[in-house]
Symmetry: C2
Subunit: 340 residues, 2 copies
């Protein structure tokens, strides 16, 4: 059963990487000549039989997966990425990563580069305004694409994301149940499915509770901490005197809580604040943030699996795979207290 | 002067990317046949003369730079990366990115992959325990390496980072000037140059002020928010009752401030806290964090320039390039107040 010896076993016995072993057995000049000899000797000693045909089948795929998202500094994408990494690691794939900062041009350059490098597939959170041709460029060149976090219009690609409309309705209902009747929505943009769906979920929840929807209570735009911090001033000067803020994500909520703190107000006591995502730092924020778990890990894990299965020849169902969000109640929300 | 027409001019006139134009003019099958024809026609119409020799000279370099750091989710690296990106963008290079999480194995795989892809160079914050051979692998294959953030033993590669020992002495001196006499150091590890140098700078500052150094006042380990949060409990139970904490970085400091807040204590009033890095969020934290500016942008910009200059044939001086840190005094530090 000599064929059962794996590259990783040889690698371990020599304290080298599997990639080095593989390169050496293919006589790559990237490995120093004496190391190459040492590896071959060890491989022979361990009874490894080099199967050229299997190797060529294996290397007809590069083992490289591209991942491109809006901004990897956003821990929301960071947490998805960790899950993708874990899954690819287990199946011996490497990923390369890039930001598109919602520039269609940057995203296209990345896809083109990935094609030139012989990438196996791409996982992407599509940039605002992505034309279907850009994703078709990948698909038509035998490089399947999987979407995460955002849906894209005009396509039926496998898409993994949370159910944004349902999730934000959980947060809104929680605030209504605490007696809040003037609730603002802070952050997000009409240009992404996430922004549209979350605003719609907030509107739906208010209507279902028989409450009026005041468009002036929407503070559009903020998507990060700094902008959330600045939005607090705008919120505090609204003539409707809202008592609660449904924030578009945790970053906005954490920035917002820091913003109202500058005015001497405490989230959960003076103003109720909800986040969205349940990032790692939501639970250590002061006060601990009430938020909606958005299944980042699930999204990453399922997207990576779907891509690898597709590369392996399985038929993954196309279309939208929604992860069901869950409420996490902590200290940043409390019973309504009228603004003075 | 037909030769002066640039690819980017043709790209702009057609609303396509420069990469697509370049591929089409080289007859790449990656561009659809009719688009290819349309591009060639436009190029002819604009008087573009395709210079095969210049093209081949140009493409003997791939235009791809690899960047590998401990964890790109850490905004410290994120801010460095943004500066690298900006610099590479201006000079028409693309970067691909990976995390090594301080695994020498992961870092080596990335370098090997980059070599196989024909990468032009690599910018890295070396993983703990990186053997010089791994960097030599890149250098010997004509792929220059530049180090950022951390120094590496046993080499003389161009290295760009802040002066850690000097920077932390600024923070320590600031606390001493406020009357603090029992100052703990929270976070960092002996395994990186950053960890060793910052501890040494703290020790030096105490000694210079004639204060005793108590090793039990060092809480080693924490490098992120969660760990900083947990360290607060350890700090509060120290029998020496320290009145101030010099934190290893801003993430630890922000987690730490949230941790003491759980015990009803406010940074800057009850306990003085300093950070390190001056991340974007330091100034919006509650209270706003007193910290040391670590020159992330400078590090990224200078490292990218040094690499591009080296690729362009300039002789960049090897060895260590230190950026001089600066103190940023905000609200998280104040006059000493004895612990009860």
């Amino acid at each position: 059963m000599a064929q059962k010896i794996k590259l990783s076993t040889i690698a371990e016995s020599l304290g080298l990487s599997t990639a080095t072993i593989s390169l050496a057995l293919r006589d790559s000049p990237l490995v120093a000549a004496d190391t190459r000899e040492r590896i071959k000797e060890q491989a022979r000693a361990m009874g490894y039989i080099y199967n050229r045909r299997a190797a060529s089948l294996r290397t007809s795929r590069s083992g490289i997966i591209g991942v491109v998202v809006h901004d990897i500094m956003n821990p929301f994408y960071g947490e998805i990425l960790k899950a993708i990494e874990g899954e690819l690691d287990r199946r011996s794939h490497t990923f390369i990563l890039s930001n598109h900062y919602d520039s269609v041009e940057k995203q296209r350059s990345f896809i083109e580069m990935l094609l030139q490098l012989g990438g196996d597939g791409v996982i992407m959170s599509p940039a605002i305004g992505t034309p279907p041709e850009d994703v078709a460029l990948a698909e038509n060149n035998n490089m399947p694409a999987i979407l995460i976090a955002r849906s894209m219009e005009g396509g039926d690609l496998p898409t993994f994301r949370g159910d944004d409309s349902y999730g934000i309705s959980l947060a809104t209902n929680h605030l209504i149940s605490l007696g809040h009747r003037t609730i603002a929505m802070v952050g997000g943009t009409e240009q992404t499915s996430t922004g549209r769906d979350r605003y719609q979920g907030y509107v739906n929840a208010l209507r279902k509770a028989g409450m009026e929807v005041d468009p002036a209570l929407r503070i559009q735009g903020p998507r990060g901490k700094q902008a959330g911090f600045e939005a607090a001033m705008e919120f505090l000067s609204l003539p409707q005197k809202p008592t609660a803020a449904v924030c578009w994500n945790d970053l906005v909520a954490i920035g917002f809580m820091n913003g109202i703190a500058r005015a001497g107000l405490v989230a959960g006591r003076d103003i109720s604040v909800t986040g969205y995502d349940d990032l790692e730092e939501a639970s250590i924020a002061t006060p601990a943030l009430t938020t909606v778990w958005n299944g980042q890990e699930e999204v990453g894990r399922l997207a990576a699996r779907a891509l690898l299965d597709k590369l392996g020849g399985s038929h993954e169902p196309d279309g939208l795979h929604l992860i069901k969000p869950e409420m996490r109640i902590r200290q940043s929300t409390g019973p309504v207290k009228p603004r003075t």
